[in-house]
């Protein structure tokens, strides 16, 4: 049994999913100077922030997630009071910003996960799993959501991804950069490293089972599978073999061949390490087949744990419009990516039936999702 994606929502520095897709098609970057930090101390000056009203400053990720969960459930027509609905939320940074900023004694351990954020949007959902799997967290959440639906543990699962940039992660980005990056340039020869983006996303996954009758919402795409692997080789550096295992696991579970993939939403962080490793893995898995490749992080930054879901929502938009947005920030491909069919400069019309969404995280945790367009 495969499952359907019946609702989606996205919140990035550009706004909602329509605003984000429009910005991607226009090749716009949401990069901005960060306020409230000391660039000289951190060696980071830019990011892709979402401006937030004062009362939600402390728990921003949860605030955005609540909005996305409510929108996605409404779009899917799923009522958690009438169906068995679980939630799986992927996050890299949880609400650690509050731990960094508050006086010791002002924050409780129960405020670090996203149970409350989901409850505010859907009080009838009691089963909320917070998966903190770094930059591929939402990809891992998608895998578990499909398993829960396929094995009959839930009628529907709302999958969330949310992260607000933290100072400790900005420090680490500044610590490994020679010169602070001013924009994320995935697969570019002059890429200077990654910058963080704020954001959240949610999709609703429901069973596709003719015996159960038509699904509640008008489905957006079919989620075929998500492949998972762990490099088990290095805490921070990606590993081509581990990435290839996740891609092949995804294709195997989906029952599809590499040659059937039309579009790859690359992880594309614009770092010295990720982009060559990802390009090598794509070459190794796809061989002579050359699907279109694009990526979102040049436009919306690295939205950490939510980034896989943001890519997935934008991949669905490509499938439904027949237009693939370019890699914002890409001017001249790095040598390792030279043979990839990167969409660059302008949007490209394309029939995208099968799309692959890559996400790789710190610790070598890889998740690769495959979604198929509905007729």
């Amino acid at each position: 049994m495969t499952v359907l994606i019946t609702g989606s929502a996205l919140h990035t520095c550009f706004g909602d999913q329509n605003a984000t897709f429009t910005a991607l098609l226009a090749g716009r970057s949401g990069v901005a100077e960060l306020t409230g930090i000391d660039p000289a101390k951190l060696n980071v000056a830019h990011g892709y922030p979402i401006e937030v009203p004062g009362e939600h400053r402390m728990f921003r990720a949860g605030h955005w997630l609540t909005g996305c969960v409510a929108s996605a459930l409404a779009a899917a027509g799923v009522d958690p009071a009438r169906q068995r609905v679980a939630a799986v939320v992927g996050t890299g940074l949880r609400e650690l910003w509050a731990v960094e900023r508050s006086a010791v004694g002002r924050v409780g351990a129960d405020q670090l996960d996203f149970r409350d954020a989901v409850s505010r949007a859907a009080p009838a959902i009691h089963d909320v799993l917070t998966v903190s799997n770094a930059c591929s967290a939402a990809g891992h959440a998608l895998a578990l959501a499909q398993d829960l639906v396929e094995l009959g543990e839930a009628d529907a699962v709302v999958v969330g991804g949310a992260d607000a940039m933290t100072e400790s992660m900005l420090v680490m980005i500044g610590r490994v950069a020679d010169e602070p990056a001013t924009q994320v340039r995935p697969f570019d020869v002059d890429r200077a490293g990654v910058l963080l983006g704020d954001g959240a996303a949610a999709v609703v996954v429901t069973a596709e089972d003719p015996a159960r009758g038509p699904g509640p919402g008008r489905p957006l795409a079919r989620l075929l599978a998500t492949g998972l692997s762990c490099d088990a080789s290095h805490e921070t550096a990606p590993d081509v073999a581990g990435i290839c295992r996740a891609m092949r696991d995804g294709l195997d579970r989906a029952g599809r061949r590499p040659a059937e993939v039309d579009l790859v939403l690359a992880h594309g962080t614009g770092t010295a390490r990720n982009d060559p490793a990802e390009a090598s893995a794509l070459h190794e898995v796809f061989g002579d087949h050359r699907p279109l490749v694009t990526a979102i992080k040049g436009a919306v930054g690295h939205t950490s744990g939510g980034s896989a879901l943001a890519s997935l929502v934008m991949a669905i938009a490509c499938q439904r419009t027949g237009i693939v947005f370019p890699v914002v920030g890409l001017r001249r491909p790095c040598p390792e990516a030279g043979a990839l069919r990167l969409v660059s400069g302008a949007p490209q019309p394309a029939t995208v039936r099968l799309a692959q969404v890559n996400s790789f995280g710190f610790g070598g945790v890889n998740a690769v999702s495959l979604i198929e367009a509905l007729p």
Partner: protein, 293 residues
């Protein structure tokens, strides 16, 4: 069905007999700063407290000898790792921010970078013991330990792994203690206890020793019938109750894994334990451990 093949606990400063557990052949649990006595010296530099405790628990559950060298060779893609911890990296995160405020980013060691990520315990476990299967870090609050066990069962049922190493772990550094004390649903008389527990789970259809079988999970809305590991109020009157929180303190995100480990150890005394984890705010979750057949 899912079989518990092996269990361990690593509870520094606790005589595990207070939980009714037999002594471990590797001796009492060493504190994190002495983890090298169990794990060997190489590779522990810059590893945080929770990661060290987790590695010790896995080392014990795998039946490895004292300071036995780490496994070498390719990672096993059929073994997955699921870890539950809520407070593993909070001290590191505060430490990094404090260092920058007192100086600048360059004062933070790049060796700290992985430790800022909430999933460092799960990924380090995979790297240390060469586990290449799905690798998940669960940070779900008080039910997290049982959420991790349920996730492991899901990975086995979905055929994403043939074996899952499940770990529940919390440190008890001052930042962790503070966050734990301030949480809604907590009580002042049950302070945070540094603890790690590990389970090795496989499908029970495969050959191997079965210490217990993991049943289905449900919200603990009514008292459980039969013996309970967890709060007395989650059990029927006159039931046998073993509440680890009353005996050693609150192990928070580790509690569900610890509870299942204790149940697996005590199956011969009292088959059919129900393990309950959670708190009044996050809610309760429970699972029944069946007898070996």
């Amino acid at each position: 069905m899912t079989a518990v093949r092996s269990w361990s606990v690593h509870l520094p400063g606790v005589d595990q007999a207070v939980l009714g557990l037999p002594g471990d052949p590797l001796g009492p649990a060493v504190p994190p700063e002495r983890a090298h006595e169990l794990l060997g010296r190489k590779g522990l530099l810059y590893k945080d407290e929770a990661t060290r405790l987790a590695l010790c628990a896995v080392h014990r559950a795998l039946g490895r000898g004292p300071a036995e060298p780490r496994p070498a060779g390719p990672a096993d893609p059929a073994t997955a790792v699921v870890v539950s911890s809520n407070l593993g990296n909070v001290a590191v995160v505060r430490d990094i921010v404090g260092t920058v405020r007192a100086g600048r980013g360059r004062d933070v060691s790049p060796m700290q970078a992985p430790n800022a990520s909430s999933n460092v315990i799960a990924s380090t476990t995979a790297i240390w013991f060469r586990f290449g299967g799905p690798n998940l870090m669960i940070c779900s609050g008080a039910t997290g330990g049982l959420d991790a066990v349920a996730t492991a069962v899901l990975l086995l049922r979905a055929r994403r792994a043939a074996r899952v190493v499940v770990v529940g772990v919390e440190p008890a550094d001052p930042v962790a203690q503070c966050l734990h004390r301030n949480r809604a649903g907590g009580t002042a008389d049950r302070p945070l206890r540094a603890a790690a527990a590990c389970l090795v789970l496989e499908r029970s259809a495969e050959a191997g020793p079965t210490l217990g079988t993991v049943g289905s999970f449900d919200p603990a809305v009514d008292p459980a019938a039969g013996p309970v590991i967890g709060p007395a109020k989650c059990a029927e009157p006159d039931s046998v109750v073993l509440d680890p929180r009353e005996r050693i303190g609150d192990t928070f995100g580790a509690a569900g894994v610890l509870g299942v480990a204790v149940a697996a150890a005590l199956m011969t005394e009292n088959p059919g334990w129900t393990v309950v984890a959670g708190d009044p705010v996050a809610g309760w979750r429970r699972v029944r451990l069946g007898v070996t057949r």
